[in-house]
């Protein structure tokens, strides 16, 4: 399907169109942060705190209020989108990729390669993810890319498990066997027949993974092994100020909304994409 047609089809539903707009906006904001952010995200304004040192609620100068150091929350959210996109989309994407690869290989090739891969997955799964992430990040000096890598290394496991069982189910379906009798190679079966059937599952996990990875990054920051201050990320803005949620609700509300909105948008687009790409659903229900 040509890309423009795809987009047009996706936009038939208002919610999906809105979601696309949200995603594109967030990406643009992240990329254009230096130009669109009203303030320097790291500037601790003297007038950004009350005389007692309390953050300011949304006002004219600071549209979404200030944080605990008197920095402009809006600007931090805009810059934070960069980090959060890297974590939520790139790191999560890598995790999904690894998980899919491992799951598909284990489920499709079976044999001892499959057995080894699945035992490895079981091993990783028995590991409390948080601990693994903390230890890895503590050993490898934290930086955004390391954190992204760590998250990817931790998060692929569940995906691999799910994809594995799905792969086995699909690989045992008749049309795959039939495909072999037509002379198709394993690679062709894999890419042309198996993967498209895995797509819905992959999409669900990919979109659900966005918010969880963003939050995992924040947990890591909280434990001192995440993205280092003052670099903002949506997650660490929340975690920095989570105990203030009664006295400065805007500090957790806005970044929280941002995360949910982004994740939800990806999810809606993902669902619509799945429906669009899965012709077997057309005219059903």
């Amino acid at each position: 399907m040509a890309f423009p047609t795809l987009i047009r089809n996706l936009c038939r539903h208002k919610s999906v169109a809105v979601s696309l707009v949200v995603i594109v906006t967030v990406v643009c904001l992240a990329v254009l942060a230096p130009w669109v952010a009203p303030h320097d995200p790291n500037m601790q304004y003297f007038e950004g705190l009350t005389m007692e040192g309390a953050p300011l609620p949304p006002n004219e100068k600071f549209l979404l209020g200030t944080d605990l150091l008197g920095r402009d929350l809006l600007s931090r959210l805009i810059y934070g989108a960069q980090t959060s996109l890297i974590i939520g989309v790139v790191a999560n994407g890598i995790a999904i990729l690894i998980g899919t690869l491992v799951g598909v290989c284990a489920g499709f090739i079976r044999g001892w390669t499959g057995a080894v891969l699945m035992r490895l997955t079981d091993l990783m799964m028995a590991f409390p993810a948080l601990l693994l992430a903390i230890a890895l990040a503590a050993i490898l000096q934290p930086s955004i890319w390391i954190v992204a890598l760590v998250i990817a290394m931790v998060n692929w496991v569940q995906v691999a498990r799910v994809i594995y069982s799905e792969t086995i189910a699909i690989a045992s379906r008749e049309f795959i066997a039939v495909e072999r009798t037509l002379g198709a190679s394993s690679l062709r079966i894999l890419f042309s027949h198996l993967l498209p059937h895995l797509l819905p599952t992959i999409l669900v996990w990919a979109t659900l993974g966005i918010s969880t990875t963003v939050l995992l990054e924040a947990t890591l920051s909280f434990l001192g092994v995440g993205v280092q201050p003052p670099t903002p990320s949506w997650g660490n803005i929340i975690f920095e100020s989570q105990t203030y949620f009664t006295s400065a609700v805007w500090l957790v509300l806005f970044p929280g909304l941002a995360i949910v909105l982004l994740a939800l948008s990806f999810n809606l687009v993902g669902d619509a994409l799945r429906d669009e790409l899965d012709p077997s659903l057309k005219g059903r229900e």
């Binding site: 079981d122 091993l123 590991f127 409390p128 601990l131 903390i134 069982s165 918010s211 975690f239 949620f245």
Partner: protein
């Protein structure tokens, strides 16, 4: 069947060995000196060296790990650097509350997830469906700390429906378990929804209706048992994620469980406790997966154990 369980137990032991090795290796590599921690800030270098030798920390890695394993086989998980107590004592004292909270939390997760998923499937493509699915998203996207605090303020402080934290009676477990349930149920409600939709289209549902069964009977006796099958392995997959949330929720609600122990140990780099708790949760995860795998053939007679 017994053969299968034996084989699975064999795997489980291998997995636990792997977990212990990796944990030990990772913590060995973390830059923090336990001997220093124990010796205190006024200690001389000799004292530190002395303590290091006492703990066997001057040995090469493989030997340390070997010692750890030998002790482990004798049920000795070492002593906490901070609490100066047997790690096994610490864990034993906290395992019961954690199991309680986990049992309730997972039950709520399932009950909430399954019923919302069912509702969404029955009302699919309506506003209710969309609302529930968005809600499930908000659930899995919520940081546990804030959600717990919010529930605590709302239901315990303002409405006074629940006690403000604590442990002991049923009323204490309710709010933390509900929090865990609500936040974790999103995964389940999505799965249940899609498998319900699948099952609702099956021929045997029509057969059931043709028998004159009531809607409720069809739903609970025919649709649900079949729709739940793909959810069972999910419990095994989810348990690791669940434990992550448990850590935070326990801290907020003052629940005297392993989660708090783990959190404090992580913050204070109390390595023996971290290794111990990791091992315990690995055991929990392995058992949960085993149970899930054993449950699937029970729920679905078509599936044979040793085929998987």
């Amino acid at each position: 069947m017994p053969m299968y369980i034996l084989r699975r137990l064999g795997y489980a032991i291998l997995i636990l060995l792997g977990v212990s090795f990796i944990t030990y290796l990772l913590l060995y590599m973390i830059p923090a000196d336990p001997a220093r921690q124990l010796a205190g800030r006024s200690a001389t270098a000799e004292t530190v060296a002395n303590i290091r030798a006492q703990l066997g920390l001057d040995l090469p890695f493989y030997q340390q790990y070997f010692n750890y394993l030998t002790n482990l086989l004798q049920g000795d998980l070492g002593r906490s650097y901070i609490q100066r107590t047997e790690v096994s004592t610490l864990i034993m004292s906290r395992i019961r509350p954690t199991m309680e909270l986990m049992a309730w939390g997972i039950s709520f997760e399932l009950i909430i997830g399954v019923s919302l998923g069912m509702l969404a499937a029955l009302k699919r493509n309506t506003a209710i469906d969309r609302f529930l699915m968005a809600l499930s998203f908000v659930g899995v996207s919520s940081p546990h700390f804030i959600a717990s605090m919010l529930f605590l303020y709302l239901f315990a402080v303002n409405l006074d429906w629940f006690p403000l934290g604590g442990y002991g009676e049923f009323q204490h477990v309710l709010l933390p378990a509900l929090t865990l349930g609500l936040l974790g149920s999103g995964w389940y409600s999505r799965m249940v929804r899609s498998s319900m939709i699948e099952v609702l289209q099956q021929d045997y549902i029509r057969t059931a209706r043709a028998k004159g069964l009531t809607r409720a009977r069809v739903l609970f006796r025919h649709v649900l048992p079949n729709a739940i099958i793909p959810v069972i392995p999910m419990i095994g997959i989810d348990i690791g994620i669940f434990i992550g949330g448990l850590v935070v929720v326990e801290s907020v609600f003052g629940w005297p469980g392993l989660g708090q122990l783990a959190w404090q140990a992580i913050q204070r780099v109390d390595i023996p406790v971290i290794v111990g708790v990791t091992m315990v949760s690995a055991v929990a995860i392995v058992i949960a997966n085993l149970i899930a795998d054993l449950l699937v053939p029970l729920a679905d007679p078509r599936i044979a154990l040793d085929k998987s």
